[in-house]
């Protein structure tokens, strides 16, 4: 366990340091559109309409956006605990990163994600595209990271990434990779 903790701390994804707030970083910077939210969840900015991709979650990322992220198999749409999702698996699982994007339509909010995950070894609150967000991993972020972004008082998006190749650039900071993809999805929701 000590080894896992050490690896987690060594990774670029901010490991939680009790009593010491993490510095916020910002990912993405799309122009905001839509109506202003008065969300009790603390989401600042406009509500984003998840229905845009709820019936077609694999439309949440464009081919142009995916190209620089790696080589992927045909995207697989599905439905999970939180809502409709799409999984872009790496063409070669031992080489590239994979990303699963979920439209969180079951009522789970960014604050729920934060409350549930804030005690994890790897956790940070941040902003993505100007929206309240959080990234975490339940182990050491060496191969996985999840980023949730609040899109309204009732919804969020969730990006879960995985990378098996420890030499890949994404492996150095898995949470930066999931935040980068989350920013792209937010950008597409706004556009």
């Amino acid at each position: 366990m000590a080894m896992l903790v050490t690896v987690g701390l060594a990774s670029g994804c901010a490991a939680k340091d009790p009593g010491r707030p993490s510095a916020e970083t910002s990912a993405g910077g799309a122009t905001e559109t839509g109506t202003k939210s008065s969300s009790p969840s603390g989401v600042s900015g406009p509500d984003l309409d998840l229905s845009k991709f709820a019936s077609n979650p694999c439309g949440a990322l464009t081919a142009d956006q995916l190209a620089p992220l790696g080589s992927f198999k045909a995207p697989e749409p599905g439905t999970g605990t939180f809502g409709p999702n799409c999984w872009w698996k790496a063409t070669k699982v031992l080489e590239g990163a994979g990303y699963k994007v979920t439209m969180v339509t079951n009522g789970t909010t960014i604050d729920t994600f934060i409350d549930t995950n804030k005690s994890l070894q790897v956790f940070k609150e941040t902003t993505v595209g100007g929206l309240k967000a959080a990234s975490w991993d339940q182990t050491n972020a060496s191969a996985n990271c999840s980023t949730a972004v609040g899109t309204s008082s009732k919804g969020a998006i969730l990006v879960q990434m995985n990378i098996e190749n420890t030499n890949a650039p994404e492996s150095k900071d898995t949470c930066a990779a999931s935040e980068k993809v989350a920013a792209l999805v937010v950008q597409n929701l706004k556009g």
């Binding site: 999970g80 031992l94 182990t139 050491n140 996985n144 999840s146």
Partner: protein
């Protein structure tokens, strides 16, 4: 048929509390190896199968991450307690599912590495043997 040998990496014995969820995949504190053989011609299929297994483990890991976020179904202490146990079983503590899942993925990756090395060693040995039988001018 040419058989090549390799070390398959397997997990050790289960650890105590929380092994229920993780133990199914082979939660262990230490990895061990098992000597195995495969037909050289079938080795790529074996590698493809192990890679598919890694993909399944990634999917299961993400599902276990989802499970931890599911809120307690009720306000009563029993619901809270059950939710806490589910989160621990799904999480990163030794024996928890997330922990066991990563260990299993590491073991599969190491096994694939060993098979590839064995293929390379065989090719090199075969090539050297062929060269030694080639008449010199």
């Amino acid at each position: 048929m040419a058989l090549i040998g390799f070390d398959a990496i397997t997990a050790g014995g289960p650890v105590g509390a929380g092994a229920g969820a993780g133990g199914a995949i082979g939660a262990g504190l230490g990895a061990s190896t098992t000597k195995m053989q495969v037909d050289l011609a079938e080795a790529p299929k074996l590698i493809a199968g192990l890679e598919a297994a890694i993909e399944k483990l990634v999917e299961a890991y993400q599902t276990s991450d989802d499970l931890r976020v599911v809120p307690s179904p009720g306000k009563d202490p029993y619901s809270d307690s059950a939710t806490t146990v589910i989160r621990q079983s799904a999480g990163n503590d030794p024996g928890g599912y997330g922990w066991a899942n990563l260990k299993a993925r590491e073991a599969l990756k190491k096994t694939i590495e060993n098979i590839k090395k064995s293929i390379a060693d065989y090719s090199q040995t075969d090539g050297s043997a062929g060269d030694s039988l080639t008449p010199k001018d």
